[in-house]
Symmetry: C2
Subunit: 201 residues, 2 copies
Amino acid sequence: MAQPGDSKQKLRDICRIAARVFYEKGYDGASMQDIAKAVGLTKAGLYHHVGSKDRLLYEIMNYGMDILDETVLQKVKDIADPGEKLRQTIIGHIDLIVRARDLEITVILHENRSLKGALRKKINARKREYIQYIENLIAQVQEQSGGRVLLSPPLAAFALLGMVNWLYQWFQPEGPTKQNELSQGYVDYFFRGLLGSVPPA
Amino acid sequence: MAQPGDSKQKLRDICRIAARVFYEKGYDGASMQDIAKAVGLTKAGLYHHVGSKDRLLYEIMNYGMDILDETVLQKVKDIADPGEKLRQTIIGHIDLIVRARDLEITVILHENRSLKGALRKKINARKREYIQYIENLIAQVQEQSGGRVLLSPPLAAFALLGMVNWLYQWFQPEGPTKQNELSQGYVDYFFRGLLGSVPPA
């Protein structure tokens, strides 16, 4: 349902509100009627915009991946040094998870059992592409460091993604640890784990 | 619903089957009728054993924490050296996540939004106790290493738990990476990240 301009914005608004309803009631527990009501549309109006409940879930996940693209990957695309690019990607991804605004979308993105068939494959392909990007960066960083490969790029990528994506389970922005302390601590920890030491910035 | 002997085993059997139904249909999407049918009980019989749907969810999570206790913590309780104890705890926790048998229980344990009120508090207290155990071990390992604290024990504990708990999202026991390679790689990666180097075993 890629749509230009206003239509795209409308779809994103629907996604954001629907994500909240799914988050609260569960995908199976939330009806299209519940979502229409929350969005301020008739049920027919909602179906007109999103096609079906499956498709709506897909659109929410796709929106989640768009947010990752727009707020993380676009910002680092011109960085040439792989170490710095990886560092900024980690900081951006942490920022994405920690920002409360998109919490529901982030959570739904991780619980993709409800999505079936072709739509699930499409989302998994987008996730796979991001993981591949991280793995490639890691391999470049390892090569640049010139040392022995201490952990394979796929294992390192998933260790990183696990650490960062798990933040939504526990990190409280109002808690004792500030976000920049968290980011700095986790970036350095990751590079030490990967290379044995933190490369100079 | 702590019950001795046979009753406890019966409850665990119910938990294991119910976890599978919740995993497939979602907590809100699965009815007590669905679960009774899967377990091979009448609906009244199921209510007799578990009290309510909420309580059943709580029993599943509690069972998940029992499994952690029995299969991870009991095995390491007599290890005196904090480094070795932490190493074996990580290996045991990875084994727990990777074993397909309890997959549904593990997943449900991580998605505890459906549980409310006092029952949720009880489960969170058990989780908190485990996290505290990990944090204490980490602090002891840092102290023993005598170096500067590179990452605070809470941040290190959650980095570790994120990495390990995330395994259920991607690790395939039949895939290219064998479990012992994974465990060894992740233990060493964690210690390097924590201390800058892997302590001798």
